[in-house]
């Protein structure tokens, strides 16, 4: 029993281990697709149960985690369960189950090659996400961040066509380039200024260091741009390029895991490296708010011009990710000016991590389902699709509503809080940004819904019902339902996000 | 303060060593003939031998052999001489290996001129490696 408790103390490491074990299983079962996919699904479920267990421990106030590998002082692989991490882990591990289901349907329907590599890399990617989510120090986070880039490369380049290679090259160049070129030097600077890498000690140590404000500001900017996965402009263009990947990859990785790793990383940087107090003192949050606002509007504008459905979704992601960054900036602003009272509303950005994941994955699932069933990739081809694929397009519409921020989808929760906190934080112009963006979101999503349901099927095409294979449909129904349920029962995720914001502000 | 000329005159062995060294280096760098390069290398090494020998010189010194009747004798420093014995051996082996190389290069390239060799290599550029001219002309006897 004691051994079991000791083992569970290392539950975060265990969760990484489970995923990696899944990889071994997948590789061993390469000859038998059924077993292989069974292993994938089992791993996903076991991992989710583990994360859920950690969530309960966290709620009960139990400390979970510990140092796994202590390489040299400052460089250690260590884990700790906290609100932000568990939020990200819950989202990623939960959606992985649904996504595995979807992948099975999609990959089989497409008769894709190298499915073993696909499932194996997928599992490694989730392992990296788990590792990143529970990292207790900057080095671990960086290590898992890099691992995620490297192991998703085979997924992006999956088709191995020249376009796929070009896209994947851009993907890896941007992400590795930014992280090695900007984030790693920033790591050096933090180590030099603070002498520690542990999140628990960093804000205090940085506050106490005598480094010049300019250097701190420089480090902060290097971190934000270095975490190119967060999709902030001008380091966003890897995301549309990565859309050459098969849709399940785009769905989980580029709506959930990879991009969320980016914004999760930025949240860590804001809350647990610099700390809100220090950022507020140096007024660095203005930078974040300005950059995010710019990206929100520009991302949406570019999305408007895209005809390829997945590219449109990609630019929408870029824009939506910046809501999270905006929320973080506002959180700093609020805590700086009016302590204690406004945590709840200022948690909007963090809440959006979860909300956006559920909605965006629904949209990607729908795009993939359309491609599988009808081989259509362009918005302009979608006339009448709603009649042929009613379930898919209903789910799509729910996702779109959530993106725009209309009830009864979850998107409005986070957006409403962002609006409130921008008022509280005395950023009235942000209201304008949010308003314009909502309009733009409506402008690029509603026409799709309109085309699908209200335009007739073009002449000369079949008009019978033709949904994607059942695993795909099941998966996208689940996520669409989840988006709705989040609106009606938001307690779990709201509590978590509030706790995170409070933790960040209380320091 | 002695004039530059006096200074050089009083250190004439060093002047010779520097001159020899520069001539040797010049030959190594400027000559295109591989054998002449080796001669330059030898000059360079000889210059170093002379340098070592001259630093072993002691004013009024005599042969460094202990002599009972002259316990107060001043001896030359024998150590640099000994070192140079080793260095000469090293120099000879380098020359031997270098000459062996030149012989083999002559067999393989039919020339010992650096410019021509480089031109031949340039002509081979991009050719499949299996079709490149081989190095193994006649085998060296009994290994190296």
């Amino acid at each position: 029993m004691i051994a079991f408790i000791d083992l569970m103390q290392h539950a975060p490491a265990l969760s990484v281990g489970v995923c990696l074990l899944g990889v071994v299983g997948i590789l061993l079962a390469r000859r038998s697709p059924n077993v292989r996919e069974g292993v994938s699904l089992t791993t996903a479920v076991v991992n989710f149960v583990l994360v859920a267990w950690m969530f309960r421990q966290f709620e009960a106030g139990e400390e979970v985690g510990g140092t796994l590998i202590d390489i040299v002082p400052g460089l250690e692989i260590g884990f700790r369960v906290d609100g932000l991490g568990i939020l990200f882990a819950l989202v990623a591990s939960g959606l992985w189950i649904v996504n595995t289901l979807y992948s099975v349907g999609y990959m089989r329907a497409h008769n894709e090659h190298k499915q073993t590599r696909f499932f194996a890399c997928f599992a490694i990617a989730i392992a990296a996400c788990m590792g990143g989510a529970f990292s207790s120090n900057l080095f671990s986070l960086f290590a898992f961040y890099e691992l995620l880039t490297i192991c998703t490369y085979p997924l992006v380049v999956h088709a191995e066509t020249p376009e796929a290679k070009a896209g994947a090259r851009r993907y890896v160049t941007y992400l590795l380039g930014a992280s090695i070129g900007l984030m790693l030097p920033a790591l050096f600077l933090v180590w030099n200024m603070a002498g520690t890498m542990t999140f628990a000690d960093l804000p205090a140590a940085l506050d106490a260091s005598d480094a010049s404000p300019f250097l701190i500001a420089l480090t902060f900017v290097m971190f934000i741009l270095g975490m190119a996965k967060c999709g902030i402009m001008p380091v966003h263009s890897w995301l549309p390029a990565a859309m050459v990947a098969p849709t399940p990859v785009s769905a989980l990785l580029h709506a959930v895991a990879v991009v969320k790793m980016g914004v999760f990383g930025v949240s860590r940087i804001v809350l647990d490296v610099f700390g809100t107090d220090l950022l507020a003192e140096l007024s660095l949050h203005h930078l974040l708010i300005a950059g995010a606002s710019f990206t929100i509007v520009c991302g949406s504008l570019v999305a408007l011009a895209q005809d390829n459905l997945k590219r449109r979704l990609a630019y929408s992601t870029i824009s939506q990710l910046s809501y999270i960054l905006l929320g973080l900036g506002l959180l700093v602003g609020v805590t700086g000016e009016d302590q204690v009272t406004h945590y709840q509303v200022s948690a909007g950005g963090i809440l959006h991590i979860g909300v956006h994941a559920w909605s965006k994955i629904t949209l990607f699932f729908a795009a993939g389902a359309i491609y599988v069933a009808l081989h259509k990739t362009k918005v302009s081809q979608l006339d009448g699709v709603g009649r042929r694929m009613p379930i898919t397009m209903t789910a799509f519409s729910i996702g779109a509503l959530s993106m725009i921020g209309l009830p009864p989808a979850a998107g409005i929760l986070s957006k409403w809080w962002l609006v409130e906190s921008s008022v509280d934080g005395a950023y009235p112009w942000v209201l304008g940004v949010l308003f314009v963006s909502a309009m733009l979101n409506a402008a690029y999503f509603l026409p799709i819904v309109f085309r699908a349901f209200f335009k007739p099927v073009p002449e000369g095409e079949e008009s019978g019902r033709k949904e994607a294979p059942w695993p795909c449909v099941l998966a996208l129904s689940v996520t669409a339902l989840g988006t709705l349920l989040l609106f009606f029962f938001p307690e779990v995720i709201v509590d978590l996000a509030t706790a995170v914001a409070q933790g960040g502000g209380a320091k | 303060m002695p004039s530059l000329f006096e200074h050089l005159w009083s250190h004439w062995p060093y002047v010779i060593y520097i001159l020899l060294m520069v001539i040797g280096l010049f030959a190594v760098l400027a000559k295109g003939n591989l054998v002449k390069k080796i001669i330059g290398l030898n000059l360079l090494q000889t210059a170093v031998f002379l340098f070592y020998i001259s630093i072993g010189k002691v004013d009024g010194g005599t042969v460094p052999v202990y002599w009972d009747e002259r316990p107060d004798a001043v001896y030359e420093n024998p150590l640099p001489h000994v070192l140079m014995l080793t260095a000469i051996v090293v120099g000879v082996s380098i020359t031997a290996v270098a000459l062996a190389f030149v012989v083999r290069i002559k067999e393989a390239y039919k020339t010992v001129d650096e410019g021509e060799i480089l031109a031949l290599d340039e002509a081979d550029r991009g050719a499949p490696e299996a079709e490149l001219p081989r190095a193994d002309a006649p085998e060296p006897e009994g290994g190296v």
Binding site: V157, L184, N192 | -
Partner: protein, 500 residues
């Protein structure tokens, strides 16, 4: 026997090397076994001494007076943590190369020349071991020439006629370098009057005004230039690419993984244990800056030049130019972190570059060519070898949890400690360039278009696979444990660094 280890570690391979041509007259198969046996013993000796030192306080040395002639009259072998690390590196890479090379040699060297090759190879390893272990500057020169002459011969034994010319060119350039080192020794002796390293260091410590002597400074200049040629420090790296690419695979594996680094070690030894750290810090700050600039330039230019190479071995050679820059950067940062980074890079680079040259060797063995594009599709036919290449490549880039990251981490920390923040971007740029060429290899190997017919038809034989896997495992092991860092830090501390 333990007391005799310092001598035996060098003497045993030396004697075995001389016996090989003799024994080969009676039994042609014996040569390889003799090489493996001798190097196995050298590994045992080096590791035993290093472990012994690790258990002792910092600053302990194992001393061995040759023929019981006490220093400074006789020649002394001195092993401390720093050269313990280097000895282990040479012996281990030598043994791994020896285990790896049997099949490669069979395909690249004619049967008649093989015993000669084995003897030369062992002599070469002996020379490098001797360079690392000796405590006498002139003895250092002798071993340096043994190692150099044998390297020229090894390189000249390549299959194509270009190998002959590459060997000859290396001979000319290398001899100039060695002659410069000899001149450095001469000038040092002229002023100090002794050749024993510890003795020289003592005299410098007793008379700091010797630092102002122009003879001493000339000596240091000759050492620096001579060693810079030998270690292929930018911009004196011209001999290296063709030497590495034309040599037989087994020779380039060993030479690339050890040779230039031993010269870099000699620079460490000369700077710290002969002239003393104060010499660079207080007497010659501008020279220190100059070397720093060269090291940084090497770090920047080496990988940049590697990107466009079409021959895999040339590509790796240019990457070595950059890696030597890391090691030299460690010396001239002159602080604890920087030195630690430089010293661990001895092992880290040996493991990564060794593994990559194993892959290059397999490529030549299986296809007969060393073009980069011949790697296309190798992931399908030779997954183990491809995996080795990927791991070693990631370590070259310096991805976290591989050995290369630790080197970069310490060098970066050292640069910040020294207040030279501008070095950090160069380190990062170098990582990016490295990522570019490594990624090109990775993409060719794993993601070649479906219709490419892989040139590498099958996996490497086990005798070549296992040594390569050991090296790749070392890249991960050194990246995940503090083994190397602990030893290297103690080594750095025992170099007697003054106040930075």
């Amino acid at each position: 026997m333990a007391g005799q280890l310092p001598a035996l570690a060098v003497v045993v391979p030396l004697l075995v090397a001389l016996l090989i041509p003799l024994v080969s007259r009676f039994n042609r198969r014996a040569a390889w076994w003799m090489v493996v046996g001798a190097l196995g013993f050298a590994v045992y000796g080096a590791v035993a001494m290093l472990l012994d030192l690790c258990g002792s306080p910092i600053g302990t040395t194992i001393e061995y007076a040759m023929g019981r002639w006490a220093a400074p009259t006789g020649i002394e072998y001195v092993v401390d943590r720093l050269n313990g690390i280097v000895l282990t590196m040479i012996a281990a890479v030598g043994l791994i190369t020896a285990l790896w090379m049997r099949k490669s040699i069979r395909s690249e060297i004619s049967e008649k020349a093989r015993p000669g090759y084995y003897a030369t190879f062992l002599l070469c390893a002996t020379g490098y071991m001797g360079m690392a272990i000796t405590g006498d500057v002139f003895n250092l020169y002798v071993f340096l020439e043994i190692a150099s002459i044998t390297s020229y011969v090894l390189i000249g034994m390549g299959r194509t006629r270009q190998a002959l010319y590459a060997g000859y060119s290396y001979l000319i350039v290398g001899s100039i370098g060695a002659t410069f080192i000899l001149l450095g020794i001469g000038h040092l002796y002229m002023e100090i009057g002794t050749l024993e390293m510890a003795d020289i260091a003592q005299r410098f410590a007793a008379n700091p005004e010797l630092y102002d002597s122009s003879v001493v400074r000339t000596s240091f200049a000759f050492f620096t230039v001579g060693l810079a040629i030998k270690m292929a420090l930018f911009p004196l790296h011209g001999w290296q690419p063709s030497a590495y690419s034309r040599a037989p695979s087994a020779a380039s594996l060993f030479i690339a993984a050890t040779a230039t680094k031993v010269s870099a070690y000699v620079f460490y030894r000369i700077s710290f244990s002969v002239f003393g750290a104060d010499f660079l810090i207080s007497a010659l700050p501008h020279i220190r800056d100059g070397i720093l600039i060269l090291a940084v330039a090497a770090i920047f230019v080496g990988p940049l030049l590697a990107i466009r190479q079409r021959c895999l071995k040339r590509l790796l050679a240019y990457s070595s130019v950059g890696q030597i820059g890391y090691i030299m950067l460690g010396v001239v940062l002159l602080n604890e972190d920087g030195l630690t980074g430089g010293v661990i890079h001895f092992w880290n680079h040996a493991a990564a570059k060794g593994a990559l040259f194993c892959v290059a060797g397999v490529l030549v063995y299986r296809t007969g060519v060393s073009r980069v594009d011949a790697l296309a599709g190798m992931g399908r036919t030779a997954p183990w070898t491809s995996a080795v290449m990927t791991v070693a490549g990631l370590s070259m880039i310096g991805v976290p949890m591989t050995a290369g990251f630790l080197s970069k981490w310490y060098l970066g920390a050292g640069a910040l400690d020294a207040g030279r923040i501008s070095i950090v971007p160069v380190l990062m740029a170098s990582s990016l360039f490295t990522a570019m060429y490594v990624w090109r290899l990775v993409q060719l190997v794993w993601f070649a278009p479906k219709d490419t017919e892989p040139l590498v038809k099958e996996e490497a034989p086990w005798s070549m696979r296992i040594p390569a896997l050991v090296l790749a495992a070392a890249c991960l092991y050194f990246g995940l444990t503090s083994t190397s860092v602990d030893i290297a830090r103690d080594a750095a501390l025992s170099l007697g660094l003054g106040a930075p």
